[in-house]
Amino acid sequence: MGHSVLIVDDSEFARADLKAVLEEKGFQVLEADTGAECCDMVKNNSFDAIFLDYNMPVMNGMDALKRMANENSRGSALVFMMTTETNPDLKNLGKQLGLNGWIVKPVDINQVAQFLVQKLTGGQVA
C-alpha cells in the first residue's frame, strides 16, 4: 500500500496539479482546501506527509499546524509548509511547532514529488 499524503491548499489547481504528480509516483493523496478541514482530516486518517499552504482564508497553514500540535493529532506525519512566504520569523515559529520543512513557491512540483519519494522511501517508488 502506498504512502498517504494530504495536500492542504485553497487553490484547486495547486492541489490537483501536485496530486496528479504524486499519484503517478504511487502515493495515495487526499485534499483539504482549508486549515480547518486539514485539522479534521488528521483526526480520522493517518498520513505519512502533509503539504500545508500558508496563505489560506479562514485558517492559515500556521494556525492549522498550531491546532494539530495542541490536539496532538498529526501522528507521525511529516509536515511541510509550501508557500511564497520567506519570513525567517515564520519559519522559526514553524520549527517550534514541529514543522519538518519549508518549501518556497513557486516550485517545480516534480522536484517536490521526487523529494518526497526520497524522504519517505529512500528513493524507491512509493
Binding site: 489547481f13 511564497t84 513557491k105 513557486p106 517545480d108
Partner: protein, 186 residues
C-alpha cells in the same frame, strides 16, 4: 516618485515574474519581453485575473491578461489535453497568486510589511466597467509567450510617503538570492 524608486519596483516586479514563470511554467515557450501596459479600461486579452499586494504606503496591482489559447501551465489531472475555460482560469488564478506572493516576499525582504489579496478573475466587460488600475501612478508590463497564445503581465503601483523609497533605495537593486523553489529541511 523618485525615478530610482520606480526603477527598483519595476525590477522587483520583473524578478518576481521571471521567478514565477521560470519555476512553474510548463508550456513549450515561455519567453518574456517588455511590453506597453494597456490603457485604463483597455482589455488586451479576453480574460484577466488580478491580485493586490498592499500596505500603508505601497500598493501594487498585479494583473495577468490571457485568452483561452494562453496555457502557461499544463493541467496534469483529468482532461489534460482539453482543459476547459474554468480550468484555465483556475490555473491563471494560481499563477497570479504565486506571482503576487513572490512579489510580496521580495518587498518583505526589504523591510516592507505588506498584505496580499486572493486572486480575482474578471472578464472583458468587468474590466472596462471597473478599471481597477485607476489611481495607480506607475506601471510596467511584460508579454509572455505561452504555448500557442500570449499572456500579458501588468503591474500598477502607487507609493505614498517617502519611507518606501528610502527603504528600497537603501537596499537598492542588489540581488538577494532567489529562494523560490528551495526546500529547507528542519
Amino acid at each position: 516618485m523618485a525615478e530610482g524608486t520606480q526603477t527598483i519596483i519595476a525590477s522587483l516586479c520583473k524578478r518576481a515574474l521571471e521567478s514565477t514563470v521560470g519555476h512553474i511554467a510548463r508550456s513549450s515557450a515561455t519567453a518574456i519581453h517588455e511590453s506597453k501596459p494597456p490603457r485604463v479600461g483597455e482589455m488586451p486579452l479576453p480574460n484577466c485575473v488580478y491580485a493586490l499586494v498592499s500596505g500603508d504606503q505601497l500598493k501594487i496591482l498585479v494583473k495577468l491578461h490571457f485568452s483561452g489559447r494562453s496555457k502557461l501551465l499544463l493541467q496534469r489531472s483529468e482532461n489534460a489535453g482539453n482543459r476547459s475555460a474554468y480550468q484555465n482560469e483556475t490555473a491563471f488564478r494560481e499563477v497570479c497568486n504565486v506571482l503576487a506572493g513572490r512579489l510580496k516576499s521580495e518587498l518583505s525582504e526589504r523591510g516592507l510589511v505588506l498584505g496580499q489579496s486572493l486572486p480575482v478573475a474578471v472578464d472583458a466587460l468587468d474590466e472596462i466597467l471597473n478599471p481597477v488600475q485607476v489611481g495607480y501612478s506607475d506601471e510596467a508590463a511584460w508579454r509572455i509567450e505561452a504555448g500557442d497564445g500570449v499572456v500579458l503581465a501588468t503591474f500598477h503601483w502607487q507609493v505614498s510617503g517617502d519611507d518606501v523609497g528610502q527603504a528600497l533605495q537603501r537596499v537598492g537593486q542588489s540581488p538577494t538570492s532567489d529562494s523560490s523553489g528551495s526546500i529547507e529541511l528542519f
